[in-house]
Amino acid sequence: MQKYSGFGLLKHAFSHHENWQRVWRNPTPKKHYDVVVVGGGGHGLATAYYLAKEHGLTNIAVVEKGYLGGGNTARNTTIIRSNYLWDEAAHLYEHALKLWEGLAQELNYNLMFSQRGVLNLGHTLQDMRDIERRVSANRLNGIDSQLLNTKEVQDIVPILDCSKNARYPVLGASWQPRGGTARHDAVAWGYARAADALGVDLIQQTEVTGIRRKDGAVCGVETTKGFISCDKVACVAAGNSGVLAKMVGITLPLESHPLQAMVSEPLKPIIDTVVMSNQVHGYLSQSDKGDLVIGAGIDGYLGYGQRGSFHVVEHTIAAILEMFPIFSRVRLNRAWGGIVDTCPDACPIISKTSVKGLYFNCGWGTGGFKATPGSGHVFAHTVANDEPHPLAKAFSVDRFISGKLIDEHGAAGVAH
């Protein structure tokens, strides 16, 4: 793998940047792999990377039906934080955040990881009670979380309407300084490049159409490019997980919904943090390019169409404008939707299944991006050892039967 550096940039300038090495190979599938990862998004690529790096498995393929990082990795609003209420979730997301902090160096890829802080606003007394509880829980778990009052919020975000007569009065907020954003595509590309360098085959434009079993264990996957034999199949297919599960006759407690987001035209720097509001279900940050990145609420109906209804966008924009009247003349550039696979308790499933050699990592719902490194890391451990990683244990699919749910709905400000 060609190492990226400032010096390299200078060196390649002399040859007009025409001699850069290809970032990853485009291999033809081998006959057999130890592990086939289904889904080439951030989580799938991270899984492959950690399988190769930490578990010494290099005979791995990532099979992707479209192109790498073209699903929800390319469609989210890139927010990273770990201030979740319940211990299990907080530990998992904090594990991810710690990995984020050294990731750009580790992958030798600029992820534009920016710890600009995340605010979760409270607009009602109940919001503030919930926030106070969550901040206290976070601090007990060693997560940097603070409770701010209106004035402190106003100091951080001067353009936020914190006046008494605001439609959504700001009573305070939780503040996680280590939270922030990263460049979503770069995360997928960085992991893909690093995994490829460790010998992982990244097979794009290849859809898995079936999972073949022998004596109750996985023996390979049928794809649009033919049969690929393998010992283990790790499914990281987000919204399409249910479709994969159906191939082997198992069901998952998932529902796929459209979730929409949008960006404005590029503006000069005006907001240097991430502002989220659960109450009105809108959140906003500014990308390094200058666009305002705005996330909407989830569409209530089931959908695989990667688009949602317009009134959801309209409601979000209305709320954002009430909070930031200064943006009233800003024009939106693009809006889009992704399919999120939501669990009844709004926590992911990282689990073995009743089929030997088949593993699922899904159900990240509306908040998977922030977990990308942690998700890949614990899932790789689960797949390699056929035993859940200590942090992933609580996220087994069995929890829906035992009743030990991790109820992160709303309580922890789970807006994405």
Binding site: G300, Y301, L302, S309, H311, P344, I401
Partner: protein, 100 residues
Amino acid sequence: MLEIYCPYCEEHREEEEFHPVGEAHIQRPEDPESLSDAEWAHYLFYRKNPRGLHHEMWVHATGCRKFFNMTRHTVTYQILETYKMGDKPTVTEEAKDDAK
């Protein structure tokens, strides 16, 4: 935005007046006490979540406030029919297969 025909109001109205409620035709177990944990979990949490035709319940929240059912395609979002509670859907995956 979806345009939805309410079978009770007998009118097409905009989606904003409605709320999706989830999968239709889920029957509450007659004798919950006798169910195993897995069966109970299935009733509570496991849904079909199909990529294709889906029978789902909606409520005309700011209209007649009545619940009704709908058959909708989850990829194209096309609404094939709406029908009153207690009725059976006329457009189903099986019926579609029979027609072939």
